[in-house]
Symmetry: C2
Subunit: 262 residues, 2 copies
């Protein structure tokens, strides 16, 4: 299978048949991938409000009607209960199960949120000749809890989580320009070059993902990260929550460039 | 009073004392003004979802906690019950009252939505030397119901309303660029030059606002309009709804340039 060249709908069918239970990075190149958070309707307003108030870490791409597993805006032929390669089930904030199919967990009071992910702007960086270290190193991007508070909404509150990419000094301005074009998928960086300023003590000890080397002549650049809403939702310890398994994202029908604002 | 130079907080105090019961166009120049929609909490999730699904006509700037009249993101010192020059009260979809103070109507289950308005990008057009006809003519912008359907959400559905500005042919490209910088306040146009293509039969008969002349060498350019969410909310005929009176907007503490994405 040439998974980079396959169309999103074909890949979702492959996932549905459980023929690919691996991360989705590099698949359906050029198409937007999304984080999944599923909550009960009684938390949905507060969670949506949290996302709207914190658009950099929590860019909303689609929200389903209560009880519907169909993301009508971004992939009207998809079923969110089967079309991701792997899911995580949480009860009272505890991970209780990983699974490839959530049909037996589905209920009429569930609302699914699809949130933008950094794969889109990473492709834009690469297209501009700017290296992306964790792709080079074939590991996960390093992510850190910061001292930047998100704007709370109802029961949802907590710090922003950021991802870090070491950028060559000469490319920093271009990296800001390139990622600014994509506000719907985290957009411009939140910090350039000073991890302490946002409460990060040791770049070698990320809170999520893997550490990557920052080389001579490179600047650590920090972007708001889609792990933020999951981390915040976890803190609330909802009765019931489903997310994608880390790296096992939902692949939408929308092309990355659709989200370029200029 | 030099109302163009006054700070938003000063102006809101003036409105609170009912010393200015007139439209807010041209006031506190450089600061973002917003449309107000107040609904009961039981409709708030669907309405917020409608806005999130239709960001061009319904750009969300702030949403209050249920029962709170304080827009914490955009003007933490303000009180939305008193700080607009004039309000409209609707019951079951019918306008029942215009008032300068909604404290006696306020209740613990109300949620206030502040939505972006076109004043911000009009200032950007003017700053780029692009004329804005309805400002020149000192009338309201012409607005039209289109054949473009909004993406529905729960009970909320209906067509997009657009505003029209005649732009000199030589300035059309620049007008697209300038307004694209402000996706949080309607952003780029939705149509250039062909009203029939979006279901508008007669430019001289707007559905809202006033007609303006399109002169030789000018092209009618259409932008998504903040009247859309009000028109759609009205269709639902909610038990109870409050909006700003047309043109009598809420003035936030945020500067227009804050919303420029690049």
């Amino acid at each position: 299978m040439d998974v980079a060249a396959m169309h999103p709908a074909e890949l979702r069918a492959v996932f549905r048949r459980n023929e690919w239970v691996r991360p989705t990075s590099g698949l359906a190149r050029g198409f937007v991938q999304a984080n999944l958070v599923v909550l009960k309707k009684d938390l949905a307003f507060d969670f949506l409000l949290f996302c709207v108030r914190n658009p950099k870490p929590c860019p909303v791409l689609d929200v389903t009607e209560p009880g519907s597993p169909v993301p009508r805006l971004v992939a009207p032929s998809a079923d969110l209960r089967t079309d991701l390669p792997k899911y995580r089930i949480y009860r009272h904030g505890e991970l209780v199960e990983e699974t490839t199919d959530i049909r037996r967990h589905w209920a009429e009071d569930l609302v699914a949120f699809l949130l933008g992910c950094s794969f889109t702007f990473e492709q834009a960086l690469l297209a501009n000749g700017i290296p992306v270290r964790h792709i080079e190193e074939n590991c996960n991007v390093p992510m850190y809890r910061t001292s930047i508070p998100c704007v709370p909404a109802g029961r949802f509150k907590g710090p922003m989580v950021v991802s870090m990419r070491p950028i060559p000094e000469k490319d920093v301005v271009r990296a800001v320009q390139v990622t600014s074009r994509f506000p719907a998928v985290h957009g411009a960086p939140v910090q350039i070059g000073n991890p302490e300023a946002i409460g990060i003590r040791d770049l070698n000890q990320p809170d999520f993902g893997d550490p990557v080397p920052v080389r001579e002549g490179e600047v650590p650049v920090f972007w708001a990260c889609g792990v933020t809403p999951q981390a915040v939702a976890m803190e609330v310890k909802p009765d019931f929550m489903i997310t994608h398994a880390p790296g096992h994202m939902f692949i939408t029908d929308l092309r990355d460039e659709r989200f370029g604002v200029l």
